[in-house]
């Protein structure tokens, strides 16, 4: 009698994916205190966008540190939820489950055998990945796209399949729109593809075709991003101005001296060793994967040296996951000593995960009670009361992405106005004769990349053009009153500049 499977593999995969995402979501809902800052912020951008506000449109495209895809991924769910960042938790849970299911498929395709379950457990237990899956952060989506890209590259280098190029192209495009911090890793992918295109044998014109198919998706994403900036912000390169103006170098202040932790350096070192081993054994594809695993750590070191190491969770979550994937690739070989390689790989994977838990730095971006994105924003109410006692027609322009969270909390509101592109002249022209204030965040971490600090580098310390300091609020926010010549009171509606 034939043994018939209880259910089809496809159903099994879907079932597993739904189950795992359900577990992540439940855990996320249970541990609401660990909801990440990016989750709260993305949720706020979604709501602004859905309410049709100018600030929401600007927030979608205006900063390379806040890419558009995490917001777009969350939009459908955000449209249905209110208040709590459920859509972020849902999206991270779904991407986390998808990353696990995809990794299982990849490891199985690479012939990792039963050892893949150990590797998969190591993959899931990578602390940044696991915490990302239940905190609504963008790390799971970055990990998923990283695995997709690495799988595509492997498929291409081993089998020359169109599928490989498509996965690689889509993965790169996705990462380009999900996390700027992953651009270093993407550069490593590009280098490896270039090596393959140079060394491999191809038909006439095929190299060009592969290059176009791989590069077109990320170029398209960037082109649309540029277009969005032109249309919404009036400057096609607005989103990267913080990188090119030199503002970061002058503003950066570290929240932590050692944000990475030794565990990740250990993982990176292991991957580099694996890459070397694969190079010695002339196994091109596993060597590529190992190098891709080592690349995030190199990328983090570089970012650290440049002083722009914030939002690094996606990079390091990917580093740990890629390390496991590289081990799977090495153990999947059918060469002599394959069994031994598999056992060593499994042991190494578990060792890496243990070291990450022990020596890897924990993510510090949870939206704590007192954090800038925190749930306790009573001070905003106090602030409004205070400015309204000075004038019934007062308006506070809150600068930066974090301000979207206040606006969201205070909605419907016309006192606190989020402003991502604050400009004194425009504000004075649009609100003549009114009592105006500007609220700026402490230029720390990613906040130092806000456009207000590009225009007025020392704003936080010394104030801007003709402003008076009006107090400190919340966690490091400073309020300034804008001085302007008295004019007749405007009775028109207050809108965002």
């Amino acid at each position: 009698m034939k043994n018939r499977p209880l259910c089809s593999p496809r159903l099994l995969y879907w079932g597993a994916a739904v189950l795992v995402s359900g577990v992540f979501l439940t855990a996320g809902l249970y541990r609401t205190a660990t909801v990440s800052r990016t989750a709260v912020l993305n949720e706020a951008v979604c709501r602004q966008l859905l309410s049709g506000s100018t600030a929401g449109r600007q927030a979608l495209v205006a900063s390379v540190w806040h890419p558009p895809f995490p917001v777009l991924f969350r939009l459908p769910a955000a449209a249905a939820t209110r208040g709590f960042p459920l859509s972020s938790l849902l999206v991270s849970a779904v991407f986390g489950a998808a990353a696990l299911v995809l990794t299982e498929r990849v490891l199985r395709k690479w012939g990792a055998g039963r050892i893949r379950y150990i590797l998969l457990a190591a993959f899931a237990l990578n602390p940044l990945f696991l915490k990302g899956c239940i905190s609504g952060s963008v790390s799971p989506s970055a990990v998923f796209l990283t695995v997709l890209t690495a799988y595509g590259l492997s498929e291409w280098t081993r089998h020359r399949r169109l599928k490989g190029i498509i996965y690689m192209g889509l993965g790169i495009a996705g990462l380009a729109g999900v996390s700027f911090q992953m651009y270093g890793w993407l550069a490593a992918v590009a280098v490896m593809l270039a090596i393959d295109l140079t060394a491999g044998s191809y038909e006439r014109g095929q190299r060009e075709g592969v290059l176009v198919l791989t590069l077109f998706p990320p170029v398209y994403v960037l082109a649309v991003w540029v277009l969005g900036n032109w249309l919404v912000m009036g400057d096609p390169l607005y989103f990267i101005r913080s990188l090119t103006s030199g503002q970061l170098a002058s503003q950066v202040r570290f929240a932590s001296d050692d944000p990475v932790g030794a565990g990740y350096y250990l993982a990176g070192g292991l991957c580099a060793a694996l890459a070397l081993l694969c190079a010695v054994r002339s196994k091109q594809a596993p060597g590529f994967t190992a190098l891709l695993a080592a690349a995030p750590v190199v990328s983090v070191l570089w970012m650290n040296a440049r002083g722009i190491l914030w939002g690094w969770e996606p990079v390091l979550a990917s580093a740990g996951s890629m390390c496991v994937l590289a081990l799977g690739h090495v153990s999947g070989g059918r060469a002599a000593g394959g069994k031994m390689a598999a056992v060593i790989s499994a042991a190494a994977a578990l060792g890496v995960v243990a070291s990450l838990w022990l020596w890897g730095s924990a993510p510090s971006e949870a939206a704590g009670k007192d954090g800038p994105a925190g749930a306790d924003l009573d001070w905003v109410t106090d602030l409004k009361r205070r400015v309204l006692t000075c004038s019934r027609h007062a308006a506070v322009f809150a600068c930066g992405y974090d301000s979207l969270i206040f606006a969201d909390k205070a909605k419907p509101d016309s006192v606190v106005i989020p402003s991502l592109d604050f400009d004194f002249d425009r504000v004075r022209t649009a609100y003549p004769g009114r009592r105006l204030y500007v609220l700026v965040p402490r230029p720390e971490g990613v906040n130092s990349a806000e456009s207000v600090f590009r225009r007025h580098r020392r704003f936080y310390d010394r104030g801007g053009e003709r402003t008076l300091a009006a107090g400190r609020w919340g966690d490091g926010w400073r309020l300034f009153e804008i001085i302007q010549a008295p004019r007749p009171l405007s009775s028109g509606p207050v809108s965002s500049p």
């Binding site: 966008l49 859905l50 558009p68 777009l72 095929q206 398209y220 649309v224």
Partner: protein, 480 residues
């Protein structure tokens, strides 16, 4: 009793199919002889009045509703195309016939294969098509080739007369009558066909040599309901100019991704105009093609499903000549889109009945494939115009037409929707090994402008001259 019934049916079919306009006479509700029925006119009139009233009294609300609906449509349509591509790479998406299977075919037991070649003002292509059909790997004695020549097309008739036609070729003269369309000629050819199977080739076609044998082998092992196998079409002059490059990219995407995707999910397949292989008896039962429909192939693809039959994709290619001149390309595309409008209106005369015939799944495929394509070409210019207004004039009034959810949907369309269509074309070029065309495929949005122009032209033509067949001129590639 059964034999008697069968015999009666055969006699009746012979009587019916002798008439090239049989479909329009016996089942006018399935023919485009009446382009728009009275009831449809009433509905369309009411819809236009309602739209005008809405735009007149509540312009902002009406515009907002239109934009919201269109945005939703774009998103759904993009996802639909993507899903089709995903299905197209499944095994079994198209029928594969291996060389070993072809070698096992006994040439003596091969059935007679009818080949219809409608030729109208194709004097320069006659030699090529005769050569291509002669080169088909099929016993000459089993080929029943009919060159369908119009009675008053002296040039083509004399060109054919100059040839010593090979064995199996014959000429069928199509009497001059209205409408002068390819399907009418094909119906006459169908009535005269002797083969168990039947295929149509256009004047410029170059089918792969083993195509007939592949079709015979495929018919012998497919589901009995499958009465039509559609070959993949592509061009032998893709690099002639920018037009042919884009056209080749589009054809590759359609015939290598979209149609195999439809075939994989057993959906209705809008047939291509050539290289569709039929079981002759089934085609006769369906009374052949609709002589009044200018995309008779697409219409027949739908009718096949309505009769409970099925179509599948066959893994073989026929190489055609891509239209290389802008004016001619627009005329050809206008005819195709006019035909899609005709087909949509014919089958939507009684939507409930169509739903009953096709079922929900195929009904939705029909809406997306036939209605959706035309709709997208018609509405594209509206959005391009608004985009230009925003680019250059920054009209604030436009912001009001894109409230939050619509703007978000628009952002999704901008990031993902357009990309999906372009990338599918680029991947199709790679699959076809047209590597050097990939870079042109990423520029296809420019090509969409021409498609939309043709779409509006088709709508106008449908209103003023629904049956006019804008002939595509071939042989330009050889001339060059």
């Amino acid at each position: 009793m059964k034999a008697g019934e069968h015999g009666a049916a055969v006699r009746e079919e012979k009587h019916i199919t002798a008439d090239p306009l049989a479909l329009s006479r016996f089942t006018p509700e399935l023919s485009a002889v009446t382009p728009v029925t009275g009831c449809q006119k009433l509905v369309l009139f009411a819809a236009v009045i309602a739209a005008l009233a809405a735009f007149g009294y509540y312009p902002r609300g009406a515009a907002l509703g239109f934009i919201a609906f269109s945005t939703l449509f774009y998103i759904v349509f993009s996802v639909y195309k993507l899903v089709l591509v995903r299905f197209s790479v499944k095994s079994g998406a198209q029928i594969e016939v291996k060389d070993e299977e072809l070698k096992r075919l006994d040439e003596n037991s091969l059935p007679v294969y009818s080949i219809l070649v409608p030729l109208f003002r194709e004097s320069e292509s006659v030699g090529n098509v005769v050569e291509a059909i002669e080169a088909l790997d099929y016993p000459a004695a089993k080929k029943d080739v009919q060159l369908l020549l119009e009675e008053d097309d002296g040039a083509t008739r004399s060109a054919v007369g100059n040839f010593a036609l090979p064995e199996g070729f014959r000429i069928t003269v199509i009497p001059r009558s209205f409408p002068r369309t390819k399907p009418k000629a094909c119906n006459i050819g169908l009535a005269e066909a002797r083969g168990k199977y039947l295929v149509i080739y256009d004047a410029e076609d170059r089918p792969e040599n083993d195509q007939l044998k592949k079709a015979v082998a495929a018919f012998s092992r497919v589901d009995r309901r499958v009465v039509c196998l559609q070959s993949r079409l592509n061009f032998y002059n893709p690099r002639q100019n920018l037009f042919t490059r884009w056209f080749a990219a589009e054809y590759s995407a359609w015939f290598d991704f979209s149609l195999p995707g439809l075939s994989a999910v057993n959906s209705v397949i809008p047939l291509g105009g050539t290289s569709n292989h039929f079981i002759t008896s089934a085609l006769r039962k369906m009374m052949g093609w609709d002589a009044y429909n200018v995309t008779e192939d697409c219409d027949l693809g739908i009718r096949i499903y309505r009769r409970g039959y099925r179509s599948k994709m066959l893994n073989t290619t026929t190489w055609e000549e891509a239209c290389s001149k802008g004016g001619l390309w627009i005329r050809q595309r206008t005819r195709w889109l006019k035909g899609y409008i005709q087909t949509y209106l014919v089958h939507m005369r009684r939507p409930g009945r169509l739903l009953g015939d096709l079922g929900w799944k195929n009904f939705l495929h029909f809406q997306a494939l036939i209605g959706g394509i035309v709709f997208s070409f018609l509405i594209n210019p509206v959005f391009w115009f608004m985009a230009l207004l925003w680019f250059f004039l920054r009209l604030e009034a436009l912001t009001a037409l894109f409230p939050g959810p619509v703007f978000a949907g628009g952002a999704v369309c901008l990031f993902a929707g357009n990309f999906v269509f372009v990338y599918i074309c680029a991947c199709a070029c790679y699959k076809r090994k047209l590597y050097d065309l990939i870079k042109y495929a990423v520029l296809t949005p420019v090509y969409w402008v021409l498609m939309s122009y043709s779409g509006w032209r088709a709508l106008i033509h449908f209103a003023i001259k629904p049956f006019t067949w804008e002939k595509t001129r071939h042989g330009l590639f050889h001339e060059k």
